[in-house]
Symmetry: C2
Subunit: 308 residues, 2 copies
Amino acid sequence: MSKLLIVGTVAFDAIETPFGKTDKILGGAATYIGLSASTFDINSGIVSIVGGDFPQEYLDMLQAKNIDTSGIEIVKDGKTFFWSGKYHNDMNSRDTLVTELNVLEHFNPKVPEHFKDSKIVMLGNLHPSVQMSVIKQMTEKPKLVVLDTMDFWMNVALPELLDVLKKVDVITINDEEARQLSGEYSLVNAAKKIHEMGPKYVVIKKGEHGALLFSEGKMFYAPALPLAEVFDPTGAGDTFAGGFSGYLAKTDNISFDNMKNAVIYGSNLASFCVEKFGTERMQNLSKEEIENRLEQFKHLTQFDIELK
Amino acid sequence: MSKLLIVGTVAFDAIETPFGKTDKILGGAATYIGLSASTFDINSGIVSIVGGDFPQEYLDMLQAKNIDTSGIEIVKDGKTFFWSGKYHNDMNSRDTLVTELNVLEHFNPKVPEHFKDSKIVMLGNLHPSVQMSVIKQMTEKPKLVVLDTMDFWMNVALPELLDVLKKVDVITINDEEARQLSGEYSLVNAAKKIHEMGPKYVVIKKGEHGALLFSEGKMFYAPALPLAEVFDPTGAGDTFAGGFSGYLAKTDNISFDNMKNAVIYGSNLASFCVEKFGTERMQNLSKEEIENRLEQFKHLTQFDIELK
């Protein structure tokens, strides 16, 4: 088992979907990543920043999941990052209604001493300079650095993004973003170009269409579980990343074959995340439910054709 | 091995993609279905109609693939169905430039005597009344009737479509069409509604995102092989249907597990179809190429997680 360091936002979200709307609830990339990774009973820690308005009970909840929160800086007189969004009827697109950076604006991440030797580092979606600062604080070279990012950083901080990509082993990115970053429409060609930017492994997230893992000419495809109802897609990508990095930390094996399993676990956990608003489903998820759904993933994808 | 009866258009296509354009070349749903199914060395026959302008060499080519063409009516003083389309840059959408129904307008399909006992019937995309007429000509109840259709028939001949669906075991349909037919956005719910219309098996084609097979609460997902280049998507859906029905005819086994394999073969063959313009790739495809690509499909989808 490897120690997992998670960097990302811990935030308030207010979400509106065709099924209803929420007040400010717990959100943030690192929150989803942490909750998802915690299903593997690993030693993980979050580096983030919140304001004095952030409830202690949320921190307690994370700690109860064996997530170290000593790297979450609390700015007593500051306000927690707040995002509000509204999903369209197809649930595949959304409008951002409010973004209040608040304490995130001057986030200077500090990795706790006891996490500077983490073997797996999961860099959630943040300014690439913040992601770089975390890599530089590691006293031992991590076995695997995974980076998640989004189109926003390609638009406003591309040089910094390209810099940090050189230090990264795995990038997780969605299909449109992969096309934007690479200038290639075909995802096969996009992955090739992104490999050349640094990451040996490229994971392309396609939402309801699953995820693709590329490395050195090898490809693996994990479908998303087709669901009767997607209640709230918020955090699905982060939950995927948490399942991916959490499984690799748990198994301490970064072979391509084991990464296939990690992608399946990511997809598996993401399928729960979308069943309820916010982090609700991820906070209450049993090992048995996860294993049962893994069985569904097997039935969904495994076939038996004899080759001559 | 079962006899396979194929009904559908045999046509001329003129295609424009970002990679180039063609003059009138061989096309039509039944052509693609037949070529794809013929890779299994089965006994198949096409029921269709062409004009006096249809070259004998095309019929010879189909016959050389062991496809019986005695059910292709030739209207000496008529013209062959002609379709022309132009693909957009993303290759996922296209504009129809020309549709000349010609002899298809008064198509009254005649199933040859020696195909009236076919165990597998593949009804390519055509007016649902034409599809129904073929079912009625069968002297023995087929083991499996597969129907492909499209949104056009939902718009102009919905009652006839609903009628023929009652007589059908499998429907193949794309995702947007499944949503239109069922009024459900979730494909899981769409498949449920479509089951209630008749077909025990629902195959939803998602283009570059693969295909889903649904039956009695069971689901199977076959990805499309991610390709560096999609040259011409024309006929991919029909090639999928030909691989699906051809494999079932070859193996003479319509269990859900074998249908999983059929979906994989459909996806496999479709991945070749798009590599060149029109039917060119399907006319020149070796068993070895198909088997090698099947190996790629295995690597792409198979994983090995031990469940506790």
